[in-house]
């Protein structure tokens, strides 16, 4: 029995991970595809509301996950958060059992290509983030709310230090084995400041692997300033406006663009309309073709994923190598899930990891965007996004926590929130200007739950502010 089984550790080390992998392998037959991942997580978080800390917390968790596919095509999967011998033996046996009894998805694949393994060696690791003391957070919360108290506003927010590690073992059908280890840190802070009567609201947030890169006081100050600037919002007519989306607002639109980048749907005739990246039916090949190689958005837009990029940062995982999704507006990569990859003899790029990405910077500052706008809107954040049509990627959603009218190169007044109906394909082909890409606060993943169902523990996004021509706002909403 090692010490870590008795008292939890913040993170499992590489040797811990290897020991658990070895333990699992002892209970499995040395046949085809096996994947074992050992993930551990730690977070220290402070929440506050109504200008007071509401909860400060420390969480630690582990996920040992085993995927078996001895028959090639009928997967079995089991996971536990226990690392004792019996539990490991249990998940290994159950994964094997499920694999043997599950239905074959189709014809056995013709072959697996060896997965590509990335080794995260630490560019997204910060000792300062990892060693963050909860007392420091608590003291900071008091400072972050002080100005709101003084000016009779109410502040709510979230401050988190997070660290994760992963050890992944994989064996493909040819017996090729690989084991890799990676770890990362992430720090996030956001604040929402509202008036006491709920008539105005402002938000700001930042994210970085390095907690020292966060300027929490600046975040609190921006949220307060935005709230003050949002007082007495006027109702203006819905319509098409030149619109500046701050990074917090552009990120979800880029996310829609990226999250649909799967290859299976556009190239497979049985999947409905094939989604936004289907080009059409190729009579010569007798199959559907995707838009790979074609220009789909403005040439100033390039989107990539790189696990070594500290500006986004993600846990190293099989298949997470650097990928350029969109290069100067041209669609360069559609990702394959494991089954599709094996059938097509193409590389498995782990489609589940698409949600972390970086949009390349442009050169326009926010001030330039505003000063060059004769009539338009400035949007802080989007909320409640909902898909209307998958083939055109049409979405509806709401603006939130700060919306202003720009007239003659300056912000003139606060505006009541709008519902919009737009497609990222449309707006990113109507790009007017693009700013510097920055990490976006994005605490959307319930890590303690979702990691047990998916490999994707973190969705980190680096996105720029963008100015869009003719953004479509369809109705006003009451919510503030």
């Amino acid at each position: 029995m090692n010490k870590s089984q008795n008292l939890s550790v913040k993170l499992l080390s590489e040797s811990d991970g290897k020991r658990i992998v070895d333990s699992a392998l002892k209970h499995m037959a040395p046949d085809a595809f096996v994947e074992i991942s050992v993930m551990s997580f730690w977070s220290s978080a402070s929440r506050w509301a109504r200008n007071k800390a509401t909860m400060t917390s420390d969480h630690r968790d582990v996920v040992v996950s085993v995927t078996r596919d001895p028959n090639l095509g009928s997967f079995g999967h089991a996971s536990t958060n226990q690392i004792d011998e019996e539990s490991i033996k249990g998940v290994a046996g159950i994964a094997d059992y499920y694999a043997r009894t599950s239905q074959q998805l189709g014809e056995p694949p013709t072959g697996y290509s060896p997965r590509q393994y990335a080794l995260n060696t630490g560019p997204v690791w910060s000792d300062k983030t990892y060693n963050r003391n909860p007392k420091e957070n608590a003291g900071l919360v008091s400072m972050l709310t002080k100005e709101s108290v003084k000016r009779d506003f109410i502040s709510a927010g979230y401050l988190e230090s997070y660290a994760g590690s992963v050890t992944v073992f994989s064996r493909d059908r040819w017996g090729f084995e690989s084991i890799r280890f990676g770890k990362l840190t992430q720090a996030q802070c956001s604040a929402t400041v509202r008036t006491k009567n709920g008539t105005a609201s402002g938000w700001a947030g930042e994210s970085s692997y390095e907690i020292d890169h966060l300027n929490e006081l600046d975040i609190a100050s921006k949220a307060l300033e935005k709230c003050k600037a949002s007082l007495d919002p006027v109702r203006i007519e819905p319509g098409r406006y030149t619109t500046i989306l701050e990074p917090g607002a552009s990120a979800p639109m880029f996310q829609i663009l990226v999250s649909s980048l799967g290859r299976y749907a556009p190239e497979n005739s049985t999947r409905g309309d094939g989604g936004p990246y289907r080009l059409g039916f190729d009579q010569a090949l007798q199959r559907y073709r995707s838009k790979l190689g074609l220009k789909i958005v403005d040439e100033r837009i390039s989107i990539s994923h790189d696990p070594f990029d500290p500006r986004i940062g993600t846990l190293a995982y099989p298949g997470v190598e650097k990928i350029n999704y969109i290069d100067k507006g041209i669609l360069t990569t559609l990702t394959n899930d494991g089954y599709h990859a094996s059938n097509e003899l193409v590389e498995d790029r782990m489609s589940v990891l698409r949600e972390s990405f970086r949009v390349e910077s442009g050169s326009t500052s926010m001030e330039e965007m505003i000063s060059s706008t004769k009539m338009g809107l400035l949007v802080t954040k989007l909320s409640s996004l909902e898909k209307i049509d998958s083939s055109s990627m049409l979405f509806t959603g709401l603006t939130r926590d700060g919306l202003w009218l720009i007239q003659n190169g300056a912000i003139s007044k606060a505006v009541r929130n709008f519902r919009f109906t737009e497609s990222p394909l449309f707006i990113f082909n109507n790009l007017n200007q693009i700013g510097e890409s920055v990490p976006v606060f994005n605490p959307v993943i319930s890590r303690h739950i979702l990691v047990r169902q998916s490999h994707n523990a973190i969705a980190s996004i680096s996105a720029p502010a963008v100015k869009i021509n003719d953004f479509s706002f369809t109705s006003t909403v009451d919510a503030i």
């Binding site: 929440r47 917390s57 079995g76 536990t80 004792d84 938000w203 319930s446 739950i449």
Partner: protein, 540 residues
């Protein structure tokens, strides 16, 4: 050396004082027999050793300076299957919450061990102490109702965790096979998650409660292709729904009959002409599914006390109930014929509990009384926030049992409970009767609904049919509804009768990091005046 589970705890208990450690308690992980079948494992959540661990966490917190502390221990098992590749997830959690000078601290981990519990108690208390930067603050926890000690089980007839997977696979596969044989079948999504969760709650006020939850989350969507290869429509099988229980939730219902009935209705509707929606206001029948999906956020989320007080302002949003104390008893939510209740003791509800996550026996709450906001969903801390109203109204200041943590890994917060829309005692007994109430209008079926971040303005879209003289006369394409909750509830002409009640499962995400929860809404359809329809694909 691997010690037996029982001995482990005992040795751990006796060795802690000497600064020694035993192995942690494990929850008897799943095993296979020699035939490769999962061995049915019994797990005793009432084992005194588990209580001992929880108590160690609480004691540690109190001895470290907490004025109040509670401990949760959970063991959660899920089998997820889409009919082909199954997935078993098991996890154990322990979380300790501490209160110091009016501030909360929380610590959690996956290790059930006396030493670990003691560490978590200290850590949670340190977290709380760290928050007392600007001095103590007033906080009053309302008294808990019901027994402080007890054991409660959510009934299950056929436990999926004791059943061979082939049986589950055959059950689900058989249904899909049936659907495949329907002439115009094109695709399906058949997802089922079986959940078993064991919970222990111990507090420094003497609570010791154990509970076992058995829930099945089930969804079956079917899509059909018109003969001319045009998408012919899809529907969710209403009766294939989430509910307490096990395999019987699906197996004991005549699903094939339900599917055939819905299929026949769909095929019949193909004979109707397809028309684009003519934007405007219409008297509208919203089915049970739609009313449930509207009630869940506009009533359920909106009356959560923490949301109304701004505690979710930086996360999932606030509420149109911006000042509960002055709005309770006066805020008109809708027409006088509207009564909506919340209840976590309802036998067939996804949010049903024996006690909530603060040890409170749930109390049925009349949230909307004759169209007026009548009460909020309270927790032990939250009840005190609206004590002025309760004092004025002569009502007790109490939690009604709405605290929930998804697992012991997270701290509890208020989550929406089971909701009940009171049917019209003289209402229509079926859809045909309800349609006859409309000379001209629209019927909306199974809409998806999303609300803004104050639960006031919403958007809905689903299948829509033009109604004339009490009959469906056309299908309407691209029909969507933009609404204010107050308009929907204020313009209800009438609800359907009790015979039309349907149980609809709804979910919620809130908090930072997010916690998910499920609740059941028992709903009846309604005839609503002047509903605003738009073309959802039309841009400005």
């Amino acid at each position: 050396m691997i010690l037996s589970r029982r001995n482990v705890i005992k040795s751990g208990a006796t060795l802690v004082g000497a600064g020694m450690v035993g192995a942690p308690l494990t929850a008897q992980p799943a095993k296979l027999d020699s035939n490769g079948r999962i061995i049915s494992t019994e797990f005793d959540i009432q084992d005194a050793a588990i209580k001992e661990i929880a108590q160690a966490g609480v004691d540690s917190a109190i001895s470290h300076g907490a004025s109040y502390s509670d401990a949760r221990i959970t063991f959660t098992k899920h089998i997820y299957t889409g009919g082909s590749n199954p997935n078993l997830l098991e996890s154990m959690e322990i979380g300790i919450r501490s209160l110091v000078d009016g501030y909360w601290g929380f610590a959690s981990s996956p290790i059930w061990h006396l030493d670990e519990a003691a560490r978590l108690g200290v850590s949670a208390t340190d977290q709380a102490k760290a928050n007392v930067v600007d001095g103590p603050r007033e906080m009053s926890l309302s008294k808990t109702t019901g027994d402080k000690n007890g054991h409660w089980i959510m009934p299950v007839k056929d436990d999926p965790f004791k059943t061979h997977y082939d049986e589950i696979k055959d059950l689900m596969g058989g249904l899909i096979e049936f659907c495949h044989n329907l002439k115009y079948f094109s695709n399906s999504f058949n997802g089922v998650t079986f959940e078993k969760q064991y919970r222990v709650f111990v507090s420094s006020e003497g609570h010791y409660q154990t509970q076992i939850f058995n829930r099945t989350q089930a969804v079956l969507h079917l899509g059909f292709m018109h003969s001319n290869q045009i998408d012919g429509g899809r529907f969710k099988v209403d009766q294939y729904t989430s509910s307490p229980g096990g395999i019987e939730v699906i197996r004991d219902k005549p699903m094939r009959k339900y599917i055939q009935e819905e299929y026949d209705i769909l095929i019949e509707s193909w004979k109707l002409p397809l028309k684009p929606i003519d934007v405007g206001r219409y008297n509208t029948i919203i089915d049970q599914h739609g009313m449930a999906k509207i009630a869940s956020p506009t009533i359920g989320f909106a009356t959560e006390i923490d949301r109304a007080m701004g505690f979710e302002a930086n996360a999932s949003g606030t509420s149109y109930v911006t000042d509960p104390v002055s709005m309770l008893g006066t805020l008109k939510i809708g027409a006088p014929n509207i009564n909506i209740y919340a209840d976590r003791s309802y036998e067939y509800g996804m949010a049903t509990v024996g006690w909530d996550d603060e040890g409170v026996k749930p109390i049925s709450t009349h949230l909307i009384k004759n169209g007026i906001l009548n009460d909020m969903q309270t927790t032990r801390e939250g009840a005190d926030w609206i004590k002025d109203y309760y004092n004025t109204a002569g009502k007790p200041i109490e939690s009604k049992g709405y605290a929930l943590s998804q697992t012991a890994m997270s701290a509890p917060m208020s989550h929406t409970p089971n909701l009940f829309i009171e049917p019209n005692p003289d209402g229509a007994k079926n859809m045909d009767e309800l349609r006859k109430k409309l000379d001209k209008g629209i019927e909306m079926k199974q809409p998806e609904v999303s609300l803004d971040f104050q639960q006031s303005t919403g958007f809905a879209r689903g299948q829509a049919f033009e109604i004339k003289d009490g009959k469906r006369v056309a299908r309407l394409s691209n029909a969507g509804v933009i609404f204010r909750g107050s308009e929907i509830w204020g313009n209800i002409n009438e609800f359907g009768g009790k015979e039309m009640e349907l149980q609809v499962d709804c979910n919620q995400s809130k908090g930072e990091p997010k916690q998910d929860s499920f609740h059941t809404v028992r709903a009846v359809p309604a005839v609503v005046r002047d509903v605003t329809f738009v073309d959802i694909t039309r841009k400005a």
